[in-house]
Symmetry: C2
Subunit: 373 residues, 2 copies
C-alpha cells in the first residue's frame, strides 16, 4: 500500500515528450516555448502568448494583427448554442456551462478538414468568454447579451461583457497578465486529460471538454475559488492569522499553497501578487490584500509553504469585480491555448495513452446462480 502511495498519481512518471513548456526545472521556473513566464508577463500580451503556444513562435506585428482580427470575428454564438446555454439553470457551476457549451459547439461546428484544429482552437478561444457571460447574464436576469464585440483583446472583451462597459486600462492589463499566467503548464491533470482523449484520435472538442471537466476539481483549477472562500472570511489580518493557525492545528487543507511540481516557489505567484497589490492600492482596499499577505506569511512560517498562482489570483479577480464562481472558468479561457498546443502535439506523434493497473481484487470465483446467493 505504501509502495503504491509512493508511485500513485503517476508522480514523477514521464508520460511523453513536449516542446511546449518546462515546469519546475530546479524546482522553480516556468517557460513557454523557451521564454520565461516573467519575460512573457512583462513584455507580451495574451494573444501573443496564445499564438506562441499554438504556432510555436511569437507573432510578428502583421501576424498578431491578423490573429486578433480572426479571433474578434469569432466571438458570436450560434442560435442553437444560445438555446442550450439558456437551459442551464442559474444554480449551475459555470465550469459546467463551459463544459456543456464546448461539447454542444462540437455538435454544431464539427471538426472536419474544412474546419480544422487551428480553426477550432481559435473559435474556442474566442467563444469561451462569450458562452460564459451569455449564460451568466441570462441566468441572472434573463438578459440576452450581444457577445459579438469590437473590444481590442480577449481580456477587454471578457471584462466588457461582464460589467456591461469597457474596463480601465489597468483592469484590462491585469486580466491580460492573468490569462498569460494560466495559459500553459505542461502535463498537469487537465492537459494530460486532453492528451489522453486526443490519443484515441477523438475530435478536438472531446479533448477540450474533458480538459474542462478535469480543471473543475478543487485539487486543480478549483483552487483559486477555494482560496477566495478562505480569505474573504476575514476582516483583518490578525483575525486571519488567528483562524489560520487554528485551521492548521486542526489539519485542515489550505488551498492555494504548494504545488506537485514546484518545490521552492511558484514563479507565477510573485507576478500576480504585484498586480493584486496595484489593484488594492488603486481601489483603497485595506482588507483583502493585507489578509492575503498575512495568510501567506503564516503559511510560510508555520508550514514552510509558498503561495501558488491561485492564491493572489483570488484577490486580483475580486478587485476586478469578478464573481468567485468565474475564477476557474477564466482559467479555462486562458488554458484553451495550452490545451490546444498539447492536442496538436499529441496528434503529431500519437500513441494511445493506456497504462495498466495492479490488481488487488478478489481471486477468480464462479458465478453462483441467483437463487443461491
Amino acid at each position: 500500500m505504501s509502495e503504491v502511495k509512493k508511485t500513485g498519481g503517476l508522480a514523477g512518471i514521464v508520460a511523453g515528450e513536449t516542446k511546449i513548456a518546462t515546469v519546475g526545472k530546479e524546482g522553480v521556473g516556468l517557460t513557454y516555448r523557451g521564454y520565461t513566464i516573467e519575460d512573457l508577463a512583462a513584455n507580451a500580451t495574451f494573444e501573443e502568448v496564445a499564438y506562441l503556444l499554438i504556432h510555436g513562435e511569437l507573432p510578428t506585428q502583421t501576424q498578431l494583427d491578423t490573429y486578433k482580427k480572426t479571433l474578434k470575428a469569432l466571438r458570436g454564438l450560434p442560435a442553437p448554442l444560445k438555446t442550450v446555454l439558456e437551459q442551464v439553470p442559474k444554480e449551475a457551476h459555470p465550469m459546467d456551462v463551459l463544459r456543456t457549451g464546448c461539447s454542444a459547439l462540437g455538435t454544431l461546428e464539427q471538426e472536419t478538414s474544412g474546419h480544422d484544429q487551428v480553426a477550432i482552437a481559435n473559435r474556442l478561444l474566442a467563444t469561451s468568454p462569450s458562452m460564459l457571460l451569455y449564460w451568466f447574464h441570462f441566468a441572472k436576469s434573463g438578459k440576452r447579451i450581444e457577445t459579438a464585440s469590437n473590444a481590442p483583446s480577449i481580456a477587454a472583451h471578457f471584462l466588457e461583457m461582464l460589467h456591461g462597459k469597457p474596463a480601465s486600462d489597468l483592469h484590462v492589463r491585469v486580466m491580460d497578465v492573468s490569462l498569460i499566467l494560466y495559459a500553459e503548464h505542461e502535463f498537469n491533470a487537465s492537459t494530460f486529460t486532453c492528451r489522453t482523449i486526443a490519443s484515441t484520435l477523438a475530435d478536438f472538442y472531446s479533448a477540450v471538454t474533458g480538459g474542462i471537466g478535469a480543471l473543475r476539481g478543487p485539487l486543480h483549477g478549483g483552487a483559486n475559488e477555494a482560496a477566495m472562500e478562505l480569505i474573504e472570511k476575514f476582516q483583518t489580518a490578525d483575525e486571519a492569522e488567528k483562524a489560520l493557525v487554528q485551521m492548521l492545528h486542526d489539519k485542515k487543507l489550505i488551498m492555494g499553497f504548494g504545488h506537485r511540481v514546484y518545490k521552492k516557489a511558484d514563479p507565477r505567484s510573485d507576478i500576480i501578487k504585484v498586480w493584486s497589490k496595484k489593484l488594492s492600492d488603486a481601489c483603497g482596499d485595506n482588507v483583502l490584500y493585507p489578509v492575503s499577505e498575512r495568510v501567506e506569511a503564516v503559511m510560510r512560517r508555520e508550514k514552510g509553504m509558498f503561495p501558488n498562482l491561485d492564491f493572489y489570483s483570488a484577490s486580483a479577480y475580486r478587485f476586478l469585480g469578478i464573481p468567485t464562481p468565474m475564477f476557474t472558468p477564466i482559467f479555462v479561457i486562458s488554458r484553451i491555448s495550452g490545451w490546444s498546443a498539447h492536442i496538436f502535439e499529441q496528434r503529431s506523434n500519437n500513441r494511445l495513452i493506456r497504462p495498466t493497473a495492479e490488481y488487488t481484487g478478489p481471486q477468480q470465483r464462479a458465478v453462483v446462480p441467483i437463487g443461491k446467493r
Copy 2:
C-alpha cells in the same frame, strides 16, 4: 525518438491499483470482480453485472429486483435536457450527443450529498439510452418519443426505443450479452480519463463526460464502427479476401484486430462471435457473417492477428438493426457501469493524477520586442 516510442502511451506503466477487473493475465483472460467474462456472459444479465461492478458483489434476487425497479424509474428525461438534445443537428455524431447530454444533465441534476455518486451512476445508466434515442428520432423525423418505459431491462429498453416496438427474446439477449462484454476493461483510455478527471475531485458528470470523449476515438471505442465500414463493403467472402490482401499490402490499418493488452486472444470475441452466428442463421444472412469469418481468417493467416470484441460486435449489431453510428454509443451505455466503479474507486483512495514530460523544445530565450521580430 525510438526510445520514446517504446515508453510512450504509458504502455506497461502501472498507474494505480484496482479491485475491479483483470485484463490479459497471461495474455488472455478478462475477469470482473473475480468472475470470468465467459461465466458472466453465460450466467448473468447486464443489470447483474452493472450491480457487481458498482457494488462489488453480484446482487441477490431481492437486490436485483430493487435495482431494476430503480433504473426503470429513472428513464425519463427532464424538459430542458430534451430542449438541449433538440439543438443537436442530425449530422452530429451520436457520441457527441451523449457527451453533450451527460454534461447538460450535470447542470440540471448536480452532484450533492443528496444526489450522490450512486444515484448519478444509476441515472446515467438509465438515461443514456433515452438521450441517444430521443435525439435520434427527433433529428431524423422530428418525433418526440416517450423514453419512460416498462421494458424489463436496459437492453430491451434500448431496442424498443430504437425500433418502436418490443424486440424478440433472442435480440434482447444478444444486446444484453453485448452490454456485459463492453461493461469494463481496467485502465483503458476512457476509464483512465475518468479516473484522471475524478482525481482532481471534479464532479461525477465531468468524469463521465470526459470518458465519453475518449471513447469516441477510432483507436478506442470507435473501432467497432470502423470494422463495420470495412465488412459492409463486400458482397462475398472471396471479394473480401481479395480486397483485404490488397489493403494489407498497402499497409492500411484494419480496425477490430489485435489489442494493446491482450497478446494471444480477446476472450470477448469468441462470445460475441457465437451470438453473431446465431443472429446470422436466424435471419438467413449469407453475406455479412461469411465475410466477417473470411476477414478473420485472412488476418490470422497474413498478420497473425486475432479479432477483438469490436469485430464481431459489428455484424451482431447490424443483425439487430442498429445503425452504425450507434455502435460506439452502445459502448458508452454499457461502460458507464465500469466507469462508475472506477470513479468510486479513484475517489476512495485518491491522489491527483499528474505525470511529467520530457522537454525537447527550444532552449531558454528572450522575448524580442514585436517591432523587431
